[in-house]
């Protein structure tokens, strides 16, 4: 029998990711009553940005003492992913959502579905459906400082297929961890013009999960502070209470909505990189299911409430990890094949029993 703590960590790790996405859902819904279906895709774009930043920028090659180049590379990738996702969300809001804000809820929701589909298909065209390995931090080792004892295994990191069927070989040489290089290899690499090789920093999934949980613990209070204490945060809350009244009070609605989208997407972008790194792949459909589940999490927690989104995310993560386990222990061998169905069933039950969620306030219909 396995220890329960492994499943608990799995549940919390997944739940933390859901929380990262759910925050954006809940903030946007709170302010303009829109289920931003494209939010999952913003999350996916964040993962792609993280992937490219970690393998293309070369931050690891900076001449700094030992752990710093790697740490810096991770931080830069996270920051870029957050900013890129935020920017994308702002553009989407400006171009697609703002024009339909007055056209009714169905029109707005359909627009969101359309944007989601658009981003999915666009990434599919640009990067193909073939999954890429998840973003991973790497250290840079110059050729001359590589240990030279036995021939090691080297590989060109990966062949990426293009949509027109041609192959595009990525010129990054990656050494497996613990690899040593003999003179022949060195000569070959030098002849091909390489100055060194990258070596993956292999983190276990548990380490990734702890990292995500730590990130959430850091960000949740920050976000809370932003919304409760800053001017923009106060404006956000005012707009979500009553948009018309807020406008009359001179609050620039459009700017506040934009800031909300940016903040939600920034957090989702961070979550995207963390998700892709933890589970090991980046692909265009990456955001679809987590996005949907995170919305479920936001609803469970009470949509519109920031602590609710975090609580809902963690609850859903734990349900997904522990409910099938419980059912399996009770004798239903196939329970793990039904995880997604169970999550949606859980959503429907929560919606029916407590539509306002765990921490949500009832939304009154305005007559």
């Amino acid at each position: 029998m396995s220890d329960l703590h492994v499943f608990l960590l799995n549940g919390l790790g997944l739940g933390a990711i859901y929380a990262f996405i759910a925050l954006g859902y809940t903030m946007v819904y709170g302010i303009i009553r829109l289920i931003n279906f494209a939010h999952g895709e913003v999350f996916m774009v964040g993962a792609y940005i993280g992937y490219f930043a970690l393998r293309g920028l070369g931050v690891e090659q900076m001449p700094l003492p030992a752990p710093w180049p790697v740490v810096l590379a991770i931080l830069v990738a996270l920051l870029l992913a957050g900013l890129g996702s935020g920017l994308l969300a702002v553009v989407v809001e400006r171009l697609a959502y703002r024009p339909v804000r007055k056209a009714g809820r169905i029109a707005a929701l359909l627009t969101a579905v359309g944007v989601s589909l658009l981003l999915q298909n666009l990434t599919l065209r640009l990067f193909t459906a073939t999954p890429r390995p998840g973003p991973a931090a790497r250290e840079w080792i110059a050729l001359e400082s590589l240990p030279a004892t036995a021939p090691g295994e080297l590989r060109v990191d990966r062949t990426v297929r293009l949509s027109d069927g041609r192959s595009d070989t990525d010129e990054v040489v990656v050494a497996d961890s613990g690899v040593a290089l003999d003179e022949a290899w060195r000569a070959r690499l030098a002849a091909e013009g390489h100055q060194g090789v990258f070596r993956r920093v292999e983190l276990t999934k548990q380490q990734h999960q702890l990292f995500v949980i730590g990130m959430l613990a850091l960000f949740a209070p920050t976000l809370w502070w932003l919304v409760k204490r800053t001017r923009t945060g106060k404006a956000m809350r005012a707009v979500s209470e009553d948009m018309d009244a807020a406008r009359l009070m001179g609050i620039p609605i459009d700017r506040v909505v934009m800031a909300t989208f940016f903040l939600g997407a920034f957090v989702a972008g961070l979550g995207g990189v963390a998700y892709a790194a933890t589970y090991g792949k980046v692909e265009p459909m990456l955001g679809f299911l987590p996005g949907m589940k995170a919305f479920v999490a936001a609803v469970i927690g009470g949509i519109g409430s920031i602590p609710g989104a975090i609580l809902g995310g963690l609850v859903l993560g734990l349900v997904e990890a522990l409910l099938p386990l419980l059912l399996m222990r009770m004798g239903w061998a196939e329970a793990f094949g039904w995880t997604d169905a169970l999550a949606f069933l859980f959503l429907i039950v929560v919606l029916l029993v407590k539509p306002t969620g765990l921490l949500g306030k009832p939304l009154r219909e305005k007559v």
Partner: protein, 348 residues
Amino acid sequence: MGSDALPSTLVLGLSLGPTGLWWTHLLVMVGMYALLGLSLNLINGYGRMFSLGHHGFWALGAYAAGSLVHHAAGSMPGPLLFLASVVLAVGVAALGGLLIGVPCLRLKGDYLAVATLGFGEILRITIQNLPEGLLGANIGLTVPRVLLEKTPETKGLFQAGWAGLMVVAVVLVAWLVRNLVTSARGRTMLAVAQDEVAAGLLGVDPTRSKVAPFVVGAALAGLAGALYAHYQGTIAPQEFTFLEMVKMLLVVVLGGLGSISGCILAAFVLLYVEQVLQLAGQDMLPAGVPPLPASWTWLAEWWSVIYALVLVLLMIFRPHGLLGTRELNDLLRSWRTRRTGRGTGAGA
């Protein structure tokens, strides 16, 4: 071969040729999406509810009919089995609509959308996880031909017959939908759609008048499912995904939320462009099918992107669809009046 041995009425079917086969297939698929669009229109257009689980009811109908025929083929005469399967599909889908609708329709707009979306996904996962002997799981369910065995000899007749059947089905369903929305009940429904609170004050039970169109919409999607299963001959769960739901939405939105002829027209436009561009490719068009301009061919590669872009642009510029709630006839009439110069103030 063997055409002389068949009755002369069948010769029409036999002589369809590539062009005829192409058009009849297109017509059947247009009919299918017109049925789905019309039934979804009842919920999302006239009913102003937002369902994202219509593909679930479609699958429910397809699998109800498919599994009956799969397991009972040969036990009764073909046409009888066909009818029985269609009735079963409509019944099962209606029941599904009732079971989902009664609890979920208490939910407002967005919540309803998410709940129905969850339902559609649960249904697909269920089909995928049930034992293969029951519903074919992921390999798909074979639906034996019970009306007419499709062979190289009967292929033309098969296609022509199905095209005819679909036209009849679409006309019947369009008539039904029209009568539903103009009946006293239908007007109640529209009233609820306009303003639930006000309707409640006038003594109309909002939930009840929302359940009716929801159930009828689900049942009609079930009908489309049954026809789909019989026409295709094999059905697989991967055919009933959220993407199909988006396609149906696009039919409804393109046609106008609440327009019958718009819906049918939209299904035609959508499927025609899709078949020509994405699936066959311009080089594969039979003689007699108008190709799209050569400068459009780059669209083929970007089809899925454009698909989504059209949805977004439509919502931004024509949030009530191309036709809105008007019918094609209204447009034709206003165009005619304008042309004859009599109706200069027609817009008033």
